[in-house]
């Protein structure tokens, strides 16, 4: 035993590492940095980011007209979501989502109309096509984290090649499930990436009221693995950090907690009114850090982005969204059968009786 001074047991921990970054907000690649994505890959990531933004705008507008349900826009977090999703191989890796990560689901192979159906409240909206390595959207915050660890651990136990990335936010990181999941992941060294999108807000509660920790990533060593902080509005940095974590997980080096520091430019969801709790100048400051602008500026310097390409992208994306809306709206309205279907592998006797009684008495109103 050493030390008569107990202060030795309370070591100064040093300042937290600043977020990892490749691109300045003006689109300049930091000196000495080499982009991990070539221009074609960057353009393809940008297209997905722009699709996400365009869908948010369309969804908000349709919601105001009463033609789309309550949903949570990605707005402001596109680099965080797309950069991380691009680091996965959808043919073997899994995403275990929260709910604010639309472009990641699309990258993984979920058809856009499926997402539209879900937020339009159609029971069939939860369907995930065979072969798409994605769990259903999770409304219960952090409840998916133990599933992600179990799934990753199960792949590892069966020697199946695959890494699991799970999304959640700064608010969800206060839940007990976060702690329990990280704790188990550290013990079994599961190939799982905890991708924490710190967007500053849990509805109206600011990040400072979620945790006294200086960064959310610095909790990771307490669970026996690494935590890193990345500029979540920098596509290239998010990709690089996530790719590193994915490669490490694949090599058997266990989990990583990534805190992606980003900002929710929009509302919590379409029923929220952030003007009650966010000062407008704060939002305006963050608009300078818009992740889409940053990639466009970067590509413009490289001669790969101008008004013509922007307009080509916009019209292609607009068409994709139109088509998805048409496909979603052409799905027949739910029936009483949908109330019972898939509760169990087979309906119970009681359900069969209830279905019979229900079908004759309940009239399904028209879905708008």
């Amino acid at each position: 035993m050493s030390g008569t001074r107990p202060e030795a047991q309370f070591p100064y921990r040093g300042d937290p590492t600043p977020p990892f970054r490749f691109l300045e907000p003006n689109g300049t690649l930091l000196e000495g940095s080499v982009s991990p994505l070539d221009d074609e890959q960057t353009l393809s990531a940008l297209r997905l980011m722009m699709l996400s933004r365009a869908f948010d705008q369309r969804g908000i507008s349709l919601h105001r007209q009463g033609r789309f349900g309550t949903f949570s826009p990605v707005m402001g977090q596109e680099a965080s979501v797309v950069g991380s999703a691009f680091a996965l191989d959808p043919s073997r890796d899994w995403i275990v989502p929260q709910y604010r990560e639309l472009p990641a689901y699309l990258h993984q192979g979920l058809p856009l109309e499926q997402f539209i159906l879900y937020f339009n409240g159609h029971p069939a909206g939860g369907t995930i096509p065979d072969g798409v390595r994605l769990l259903p959207i999770q409304i219960s915050l952090a409840a998916q984290l133990p599933h992600a660890v179990g799934l990753a651990w199960g792949l590892q136990l069966q020697n199946i090649d695959g890494v699991v990335l799970t999304y959640f936010g700064d608010g969800a990181s206060s839940e007990g499930d976060f702690h329990e999941a990280c704790n188990l992941a550290g013990i079994v060294k599961a190939p799982v990436i905890f991708f924490l999108q710190n967007n500053g807000w849990a509805i109206s509660i600011p990040r400072a009221k979620q945790s006294g920790a200086r960064t959310l990533a610095e909790r990771a060593p307490g669970y026996g693995f690494d935590g890193v902080v990345v500029d979540g509005n920098d596509l290239l940095a998010v990709y690089e950090v996530t790719k590193t974590a994915v490669d490490r997980a694949r090599r058997g080096l266990g989990p990583t907690l990534i805190e992606s520091q980003t900002y929710r430019l929009g509302a919590h969801n379409t029923s929220d009114d952030p003007t009650r709790y966010v000062a407008s100048d704060v939002v305006n400051t963050w608009k300078e850090f818009d992740p889409i602008l940053r990639v466009q500026r970067y590509l413009a310097v490289r001669g790969r982005w101008n008004e013509d390409t922007a307009s080509d992208f916009q019209s292609e994306i607009s068409g994709v969204i139109d088509q998805a809306l048409i496909a979603a709206n052409s799905v027949p309205a739910p029936t009483t059968k949908d109330l019972f279907k898939h509760t169990y592998a087979e309906l119970t006797e009681r359900q069969v009786r209830q279905l019979r009684a229900h079908a004759s008495s309940a009239k399904q109103p028209e879905i708008a």
Partner: protein
């Protein structure tokens, strides 16, 4: 009873490499009741896993393991502690098939002993099985004897849907009976008439079935022939067997260890009142714990139902005109 459960787990693990066990103290220690004794030595630490002390992640990670293609059996040391995993069981495990429209199934078993009479410390004995019976998508079963325990557990492990397997704490050593050595299965959605009698129907599950049988012996000395129905499966509920048994006798007593108000007996009585109403000759009686928290152990024998209370309630229903 314990031997039957251990036998079922070992049999399932030998037959199917995907079956694994996880929980607190299930490894070297063999489970606090020894339900997994010897399994670690036989199947290794990848299939018999000691977990950190956290019910939520025992259940939640078991769901993830099931999604990866394995067949987990999660042990919760006492059903009362499953309340720390309530959201995972009710909201997540039970609904996975429904939420994914059939793409993902939580094919897994959660085992937990429940009920009183074991002189356990506080919070260990709560009979909270009814809390889980509104978790549509989950199956909630509660065998009363070793034969059923083995056969129903083997059936549950193979079931495509998640099963909460409630074991009678008091029955672990008390419930004795012949158990076939080989693999066999017992339905997990059927009640069973375990004793036939023309005068009254006693309905119970888990440890309370033994009470009902003892009460039936006492009643027979008074000339009353009682039918005893072992419900076995609460969710789904085998309504037909219950209704048929009550229609035959016209009188009924429901027995359970949980407090009266909103105990699962309420569901059974309401169902019988609806479907067997015109055969009833007397109000249905319930013998349950009182509406109070489970007491410390020196008071527990006053709390849980006993043979005398079952006999008294039965006499009352027999006397009703």
């Amino acid at each position: 009873m314990l031997e039957a459960i251990r036998d079922a787990i070992g049999t399932a693990m030998s037959a199917d490499d995907r079956v694994m066990v996880l929980g607190q103290d299930v490894g070297k220690f063999g489970g606090i009741f020894r339900a997994t004794d010897g399994l670690l030595a036989k199947f290794g630490e990848k299939r018999v896993v000691d977990m950190p002390l956290a019910e939520g992640v025992i259940v939640g990670s078991a769901l993830g393991l099931a999604l990866s293609g394995l067949r987990p059996i999660a042990e919760i040391q006492f059903l009362g502690f499953a309340q720390q995993a309530f959201h995972q069981i009710v909201q997540q495990v039970a609904r996975m098939r429904y939420r994914s429209r059939g793409r993902f199934a939580a094919s897994m078993v959660i085992r937990a002993p429940f009920g009183g009479g074991g002189r356990t410390p506080e919070l260990h004995s709560d009979a909270i099985e009814a809390l889980f019976t509104q978790a549509q998508g989950l199956k909630v079963i509660a065998p009363s004897n070793p034969h059923d325990a083995k056969g129903m557990l083997l059936r549950a492990i193979r079931d495509p849907d998640p099963v909460l397997f409630c074991e009678p704490l008091r029955g672990y050593r008390l419930a004795r009976g012949e158990v076939s050595s080989g693999p066999y299965e017992v339905d997990i959605d059927k009640a069973k008439v375990v004793r036939d009698g023309k005068d009254v129907t006693l309905i119970a599950w888990s440890a309370a079935v033994n009470l009902a049988l003892q009460a039936a012996d006492v009643l027979l000395t008074e000339g009353t022939e009682a039918t005893v129905v072992d419900v076995r499966s609460l969710l789904p509920l085998d309504v037909d067997t219950l209704v048929a048994a009550v229609k035959r006798t016209g009188r009924c007593v429901v027995i359970h260890e949980a407090p009266l108000t909103a105990g699962f007996g309420a569901e059974i009585v309401a169902t019988l009142a609806n479907e067997a109403f015109y055969s009833l000759e007397a109000p249905i009686e319930r013998v349950t714990a009182p509406d109070a928290p489970y007491p410390l152990s020196a008071a527990e024998l006053m709390f849980i139902p006993n043979v005398e209370r079952v006999v008294a309630a039965t006499r009352q229903t027999l006397e009703a005109q």
